[in-house]
């Protein structure tokens, strides 16, 4: 009997069924699945019970890990720290504890690392930004995350992924922009101000927060990748994401990070005569060729 080759449609269906969604996983499962099997070790986990000291006074139930999972483990058999934010708890927002967990882990990755050698970091972004219930401490400690990322990425890569569910906003959108390499899915969103905030501050004519299509056209992973703000667009699959992260780590530290390319960006922005007529097609043209520097320095 001659085996009948499966049709392309059947292959696609099989592939779809074989996929394991990364988006549907919780932060802890995400971190544990990303590192090499059997190497995950969580730090300052739920049983350490360092939760937010500010939420209870506002009638909000804290979570034992404050929504941030820190896992030390290996990727490509080399040590790494994975920082995974739980979008289900308070929208993945950055409070005193959650932000301090991220900043302190990044500092330890640089200062202590593995036997004195700095180790790279992987950040899984799922955050509405600063937690307004801890406003100014969240803001200040988000600044500490930025500082710690900038110090660490000089010596080892800091790789970010925005898988999607909550997306990545506010101060954490700035953090995403500071990554050595940023990976998104089509389901991921990235922007500084959320649509509701823009609508509140500038009116519905500026941004209609109910216009789903507009939101995805501006902030969605496909657009961010096309415009050169993300380095890679991958599908929502655990193995695909893990492979992309391993490849990004192997690539090392870019010769220049995107946020250092001041002259090039200023020159391009200066070309925008009338911002009011600016659209996404113009954007793709404008920043074409500004993807992360391909010349990487391996360290």
């Amino acid at each position: 009997m001659n085996p009948v080759p499966p049709s392309p449609t059947a292959l696609a269906a099989e592939h779809f069924l074989a996929r394991q969604s990364f988006i549907e996983l919780k932060a802890r499962e995400r971190a544990e699945l990303l590192v090499d099997a059997g190497t995950a070790r969580e730090l300052a986990g739920p049983f350490d019970r360092i939760s937010s000291p500010w939420l209870a006074a506002q009638g909000l139930v804290p979570q034992a890990d404050d929504g941030v999972v820190i896992v030390r483990g290996a990727m490509n058999a080399r040590p790494v720290v994975v920082i995974s934010i739980e979008g289900g708890f308070q929208g993945g927002s950055m409070g005193e504890v959650s932000a301090a967990k991220i900043a302190a882990s990044l500092d330890l990755a640089r200062k202590v690392g593995e036997q004195g050698t700095p180790i790279p970091a992987v950040l899984v972004f799922e955050s509405g930004g600063v937690r307004l219930q801890e406003a100014n401490l969240g803001l200040a400690l988000t600044g500490e995350i930025h500082r710690a990322m900038l110090a660490l990425r000089r010596v080892v890569p800091v790789v970010g992924v925005i898988p999607g569910m909550v997306g990545c906003f506010g101060g954490m959108a700035i953090a995403a922009a500071l990554c050595s390499h940023l990976i998104m899915t089509r389901e991921g969103r990235l922007s500084l101000n959320g649509p509701e905030v823009i609508e509140q501050e500038a009116g519905p004519a500026e941004f209609d927060s109910h216009d789903r299509k507009l939101i995805w056209e501006i902030t969605g992973g496909a657009q961010r990748y096309a415009a050169g703000f993300a380095d890679e667009l991958v599908e929502d699959d655990v193995q695909t994401l893990a492979d992309a992260l391993r490849a990004a780590l192997a690539r090392g530290v870019p010769a220049r990070h995107r946020s250092e390319r001041v002259g090039e960006f200023l020159e391009r922005i200066a070309r925008i005569d009338d911002p009011l007529r600016f659209d996404s097609a113009m954007l793709r043209d404008l920043f074409a060729g500004l993807k992360t520097d391909e010349r990487h320095v391996s360290r």
Binding site: E96, Q133, H146, Q200, E206, S259
Partner: protein, 288 residues
């Protein structure tokens, strides 16, 4: 923007009927740095050099620009072009690469980052990142970096321009505040009424809109009393210059002798202190 004080110490911000190009940021920039040396292409970002304690200091400020082609930055917000321009003005100083690392002073008076659809499209998060990157790069290269907050300092705008300094000084004035989000938007996002939000922000220290709370939280290192925050007189200027010089000296001290990890927590930041301690203990693995 100006602040109206209430008898109970609260205040609300409102737009005054002053020309929109006048601002505290511009006033203090011009007072400390002399005539404006704004870049011709981006008039919303002032940068210039002036002497402070006999050394040449770079001052940077973001100011209103009523005719800016980006409508969302006309009140002095950090927009797409402003973030990158701040980065340029600072990186020019780093690129001098001289023995004496010149200090950089950020004069901060920001209604926030620009709130706009096109700004989001053009990657305003990256512009803010570029500015923050520059300030950290300057610090790591050995330049003292000091912020002087003279008006409101909101959110992403402050993360871009103001937070990444060795020392953050602020005028002790009701019109000066640091916050993650304006009251109306914050109330909406947290599904509170404005009144509920205001009540909470008076009760919970990190939610406060009062600059004294930021000093208690260790976000602001020092508050400076002035006779007028909007029209400083000679003695105000003298005092501010002296405090800036002292802060620059402190920053140099810290650059030469980096601080080790804090050994005791700030009174209102015990949780983050505990986080750092616990992570350091567990980092190397369970004790054998």
């Amino acid at each position: 923007m100006s602040a109206t004080s209430h008898a109970d110490g609260r205040f609300t911000l409102k737009t005054e009927s002053i020309p929109s190009s006048a601002s505290r940021g511009r006033t203090w920039f011009e007072a400390l740095c002399g005539a404006s040396s704004a870049s011709a292409t981006v008039p919303s970002v002032l940068a210039g050099d002036a002497d402070l304690s006999a050394e040449r200091v770079r001052f940077i400020s973001v100011v209103p620009d009523p005719s800016n082609r980006f409508p969302r930055v006309r009140k002095g917000e950090v927009g797409v072009e402003e973030g990158w321009m701040i980065a340029k003005h600072g990186r020019d100083v780093i690129a001098e690469n001289t023995e004496a690392k010149r200090p950089i002073v950020a004069i901060v008076d920001l209604p926030g980052q620009a709130f706009g659809r096109r700004e989001e499209m053009m990657g305003i998060f990256l512009s803010c990142a570029a500015a923050a990157d520059m300030y950290v790069a300057a610090r790591m290269a050995g330049h003292p970096v000091v912020s002087l907050v003279v008006g409101p300092a909101f959110s992403g705008g402050f993360l871009a321009h103001g937070y990444q300094s060795h020392r953050i000084l602020a005028l002790d004035d009701p019109g000066v505040l640091i916050h993650a989000m304006g009251q109306k938007a914050a109330a909406r996002i947290t599904r509170h009424s404005l009144a509920e939000w205001q009540q909470l922000s008076e009760k919970i220290l990190p939610m406060s809109y009062d600059i004294h709370a930021c000093a208690k939280l260790g976000i602001v290192h020092q508050l400076i009393k002035v006779a007028s925050a909007t029209a400083p007189d000679a003695s105000d200027l003298k005092r501010v210059r002296a405090r800036l010089s002292a802060a620059i000296a402190d920053a140099r001290e810290e650059i030469n002798r980096p601080r080790q990890n804090e050994t005791k927590p700030l009174r209102h930041r015990q949780a983050s202190f505990e986080v750092a301690q616990r992570l350091a203990e567990q980092w190397g693995g369970p004790a054998a």
